[in-house]
């Protein structure tokens, strides 16, 4: 809010300039050749090109098209050459080799110096008061891997020292940026930290990724063109890629059906079922790398916490309530049958690490009642469940307004808990206010009883394990769970390089959290995507089990696409309105869809006719009456 007069004048001038610019729509570059454009739709906001400001999946998708990670992800999330061509590990010392002769998309040489520049940017940012860079989603990758120093020993060699021996460095979701362009910017501009002019990284973006952003309408779309200096042997068929934002996913699905777009992420359950019958459309049900949970305020009403009853701190109480939640019913109602009932904190997406609990709970209200009574929570004469101080237990249940589907879960939970004599006061909370409320001491009030939200993980499960560490209370821990044994196991698994040993530790951690129930995992969400099969082929799921072709991990899926518009008379890239713009056989249509809309059209017409006739009759009489 505070800024100098000059800055304000500049802002005013910029605003006016932008408005004027907006008023004169520029002519898009005229295409000489016919371009093959891949259009992908998402309901997420398309808002940033500066990777450090990334928050949502679409942001990550955008920057992994523009840039390479030091090490990219292969089809099954195994490390494959990225900015670095090869690497070796010797204890806590890593050596990465970049490709000799690799070029940035603007023709400048891409070298080890760029890696050092990018990683050092993070290490510098961590040392500032602010503690991280931009939206702070990317620095954790280097911190979790314990990176201490980064050094270039020659043009193509980078040596990285880590604090402890681990392999998390190969999973770092950090884009390697061109030093020759970015070093002109200060840390503050890049991180958008203080009231300085932020660096937006406007197009044309320069990177080593397979496609480079050349046009950007924030909130609307990003258009990418092929990187002329791409180092990959295997390149995708699209000449251009458009990632398009949709205000409603329904519109996106319609556009997919009419062939206006080729891919949709985030299809709704019923649409997904419906799309399965569409010609030329393939649906793919991926498993989300995450879950939706019911979190308990395990701080209860102890000092520094705002829970309404001490029962929340009692493992027996939480465990008993676990028997009063029917995960299958929630999957059926809220997710429309897609997704899977939740159990442990590492989702089945991590096929290597996920385990089912040793002592699973099943939905059984009588069992829940028995366990509550056995733990000392008895019913009073009016059928209300009492806590150990003799007060009736009334739980406040909430969820963020950004995740409306939780209202459905809430309807169930209210009734189930009611059956146990526990009154539940359910209401949605504005997201910002909720984050305030569920932050623990010393940074927040820890003021809630139970609430629902979800987490999304990385290729490595470490980040999903973080929220239950004691030292995260006040930060990312929203259940305020604290167990020294868990904390030890966390550090042990992070430093463990033997897969079998690590799996043992992770299994113990998953069971620990399941049994002590700071979270009750409601379900593992499904990733419902759909794409057209008439323009592009080569759609490849990443990972092959439970994955999706796009919006996965990096640019992998795009590079696999092949051209199916084999006939050289591919339609001139749009100009013609509507369905004509696509080779979609519009004649075929969708059987069920068209009957339904016919019914609808007839229905509406009939309704209008009825009202009109009634009105006409009445008007006639009315006029006559008035004329008398």
């Amino acid at each position: 809010m505070r800024s100098s007069i000059r800055a304000r004048l500049a802002a005013a001038a910029a605003t006016i300039g932008l408005i004027l610019a907006g008023l004169s729509p520029s002519l898009a570059p005229v295409a000489g050749a016919e371009h093959l454009i891949l259009r992908a739709g998402t309901d997420q906001d398309i808002q940033v090109l500066n990777p450090w400001n990334s928050v949502v999946v679409a942001d990550f998708e955008v920057f992994t098209l523009n840039y390479d990670l030091l090490v990219n992800f292969g089809q099954d999330l195994e490390p494959v050459p990225g900015f670095a061509e090869s690497w070796e590990q010797d204890g806590t010392t890593w050596t990465f080799h970049t490709r000799p002769g690799m070029l940035w998309s603007d023709g400048e040489p891409a070298t080890s110096a760029d890696v050092v520049y990018t990683f050092q940017l993070i290490l510098d940012a961590v040392d500032t008061d602010y503690g991280c860079l931009g939206q702070c989603y990317l620095d954790g990758y280097l911190l979790n891997a314990g990176v201490v120093s980064v050094e270039a020993t020659d043009e193509t060699t980078v040596v990285i020292e880590t604090e402890f021996e681990n392999t998390l460095l190969l999973q770092s979701y950090v884009p390697i940026l061109p030093e020759h362009l970015w070093s002109a910017r200060t840390l503050e501009e890049i991180g958008n930290h203080e009231g300085v002019e932020p660096f937006l990284n406007e197009p044309p973006v320069v990177g080593t990724g397979p496609y480079q952003a050349v046009e950007f309408e924030p909130g609307n779309f990003v258009r990418f063109a092929r990187n002329p200096n791409d180092w990959r042997d295997e390149q995708g068929a699209p000449d251009e890629i458009v990632i398009q934002h949709f205000g409603s996913i329904d519109t996106a699905v319609q556009a997919l059906k009419t062939g206006e777009i080729d891919y949709v992420r985030g299809v709704l359950a019923d649409q997904f079922t419906d799309l399965a019958d569409e010609p030329d459309i393939q649906t793919v049900e991926g498993i989300a790398n995450g879950y939706t949970e019911l979190s308990f305020n395990t701080g209860g009403n102890s000092e520094g916490y705002g829970g309404s009853t001490a029962a929340l701190s009692d493992v027996a109480f939480r465990d008993a309530l676990g028997y009063a939640i029917d995960q299958d019913a929630l999957v059926e109602a809220t997710l429309g049958g897609y997704g899977a009932p939740g159990t442990t904190i590492i989702p089945p997406f991590h096929t290597r690490w996920h385990v089912e609990p040793d002592n699973p709970r099943t939905f059984d209200l009588a069992e829940a009642d028995r366990r509550l009574t056995a733990a000392g929570y008895v019913l009073d004469a009016e059928g209300r469940r009492l806590d150990k101080s003799g007060a009736p237990i009334n739980l406040r249940l909430t969820w963020p307004d950004s995740e409306e589907e939780n209202a459905t879960n809430a309807q169930f939970i209210v009734e189930w808990f009611d059956g146990l004599g526990i009154a539940v006061d359910a209401a949605v909370t504005e997201e910002g206010a909720l984050i305030d409320a569920v932050t623990g001491p010393p940074n927040g009030p820890g003021d809630y009883d139970i609430y629902m939200w979800g987490w999304v993980g990385d290729p490595d499960p470490t980040s999903l394990l973080n929220f239950f560490r004691s030292e995260e209370i006040g930060f990312s821990s929203d259940s305020f769970y604290s167990n020294p044994h868990y904390d030890e196991l966390f550090l042990a698994q992070r430093a463990e390089s033997d897969e079998a040993t690590r799996k043992g530790i992770l299994a113990e951690m998953q069971n620990l959290v399941y049994d002590e129930a700071p979270y009750i995992i409601l379900y593992y969400d499904a990733e419902l995507h759909a794409y057209r099969t008439d323009r592009f082929g080569g759609w490849t799921n990443q990972p092959s089990e439970g994955g999706t072709p796009l919006f996965g991990y990096g640019s992998f899926g795009y590079t696999k696409l092949t051209d199916l518009t084999a006939v050289p008379t591919a339609e001139p890239s749009v100009a013609a309105p509507s369905a004509g713009a696509t080779p979609a056989p519009s004649g075929s249509g969708s059987g069920t869809g068209s009957t339904d809309s016919t019914v609808l059209i007839v229905g509406i017409a009939a309704l209008v006719a009825i009202i009109a006739v009634g009105l006409l009759a009445m008007r006639r009489r009315g006029t006559r009456a008035e004329e008398e």
Partner: protein, 314 residues
């Protein structure tokens, strides 16, 4: 939208007071009035006793249909994605929509009447200030203001499941917001009526015998503008229903107490239009159009009846 509608016919003072019952009789004698009253009577009955017609509101747990099934003998209006009976939801939606509309109308007309009468009767600087504020609300896009106000007020009052008159706090906030943002045209209309009443002999008489301003406003002005307030309320009601629908449609409704607007929002958020699940959005959509249509007809008819200039001319 209808607040503007109210200003379509400039108010002219009623020549004499029309009895309540007398008014209703004459209203239903007019065909468009009868049509409107009939529709409203039907919806009022549904809203008053939804349980009598379709049983208690179905919840995700008590629902027993199949997911998004088209109309059938068991479910004449089909089901929603939570397997609930759309007929049940639509009838209960009538209660929620009408209750919010009614409460919002009361708030709106109350503010409008107080501002209008005080402004018109007291005059001078008070009038100038009040009318400036009225003009402000008349001219700005109040719906955008409502969009900002709703989440803010909701967080200020807390959105717990406290209920007022059987309506959840989240929806009470909508009532308040509609009240705050749509009273201005009522105030304008009532003020101009008050201005002309002020000059009448009976007001002077009351003043001569020493009646205070408050007394005169309550006992002499208010009874004489009440007809106007009633006619105006009908149009305000239609506007309130539309505003509530639109606010719910952009996601500010309450899924625990679905109004018609909330049902439309739910239909849109599961993608019902694209799925061809017309039974999900056509019933609430038709209900909204019918109710607003009926209120507009009745409002217009009332306006004609209470407006001597028009009445004489017809």
């Amino acid at each position: 939208m209808t607040a503007a509608g109210a200003s379509w016919s400039p108010p002219i003072p009623a020549g004499r007071r029309v009895g309540r019952f007398d008014l209703l009789v004459r209203l239903v004698r007019r065909p468009e009035g009868a049509f409107g009253v009939l529709i409203l009577a039907i919806f009022a009955a549904l809203a008053l006793a939804p349980d009598f017609f379709v049983g208690p509101l179905q919840t995700a747990v008590t629902a027993h249909g199949t997911r998004l099934s088209p109309p059938s003998a068991a479910f004449p209006l089909g089901t929603d994605e939570l397997r609930r009976d759309m007929l049940n939801l639509t009838v209960h939606g009538a209660r929620v929509s009408m209750a919010i509309g009614l409460l919002a109308t009361l708030v709106t007309v109350f503010i409008g009447a107080v501002v209008g009468i005080v402004s018109g009767f007291v005059g001078g600087r008070v009038d100038a200030v009040l009318m400036r504020i009225t003009d402000f609300f008349l001219v700005i896009p109040t719906f955008v203001l409502a969009l900002i106000l709703t989440p803010i007020i909701r967080d200020l009052v807390g959105s717990g499941s406290t209920e007022i008159l059987g309506i959840r706090m989240t929806l009470i906030v909508i009532v308040i917001v509609i009240g705050i943002t749509s009273w201005s045209s009522s105030a304008r209309i009532i003020r101009s009526q008050t201005l002309s009443l002020k000059e009448r002999a009976f007001v002077d008489r009351a003043r001569v015998i020493g009646a205070g301003s408050g007394h005169i406003m309550r006992r002499h002005i208010l009874p004489n503008v009440i007809n106007l307030i009633v006619a105006n309320s009908v149009l305000v009601f239609a506007g309130a229903v539309l505003t509530e629908t639109t606010l719910s449609f952009v996601g500010l409704g309450d899924p625990f107490q679905p109004s018609w607007g909330q049902l439309l929002e739910a239909a849109r958020s599961v993608g019902a239009p694209g799925l061809g699940a017309w039974w999900y959005f056509v019933p609430p959509g038709v209900c909204i159009v019918l109710v607003v249509f009926a209120f507009t007809l009745v409002g217009g008819a009332l306006d004609d009846l209470l407006n001597p200039k028009r009445r004489g001319r017809a």
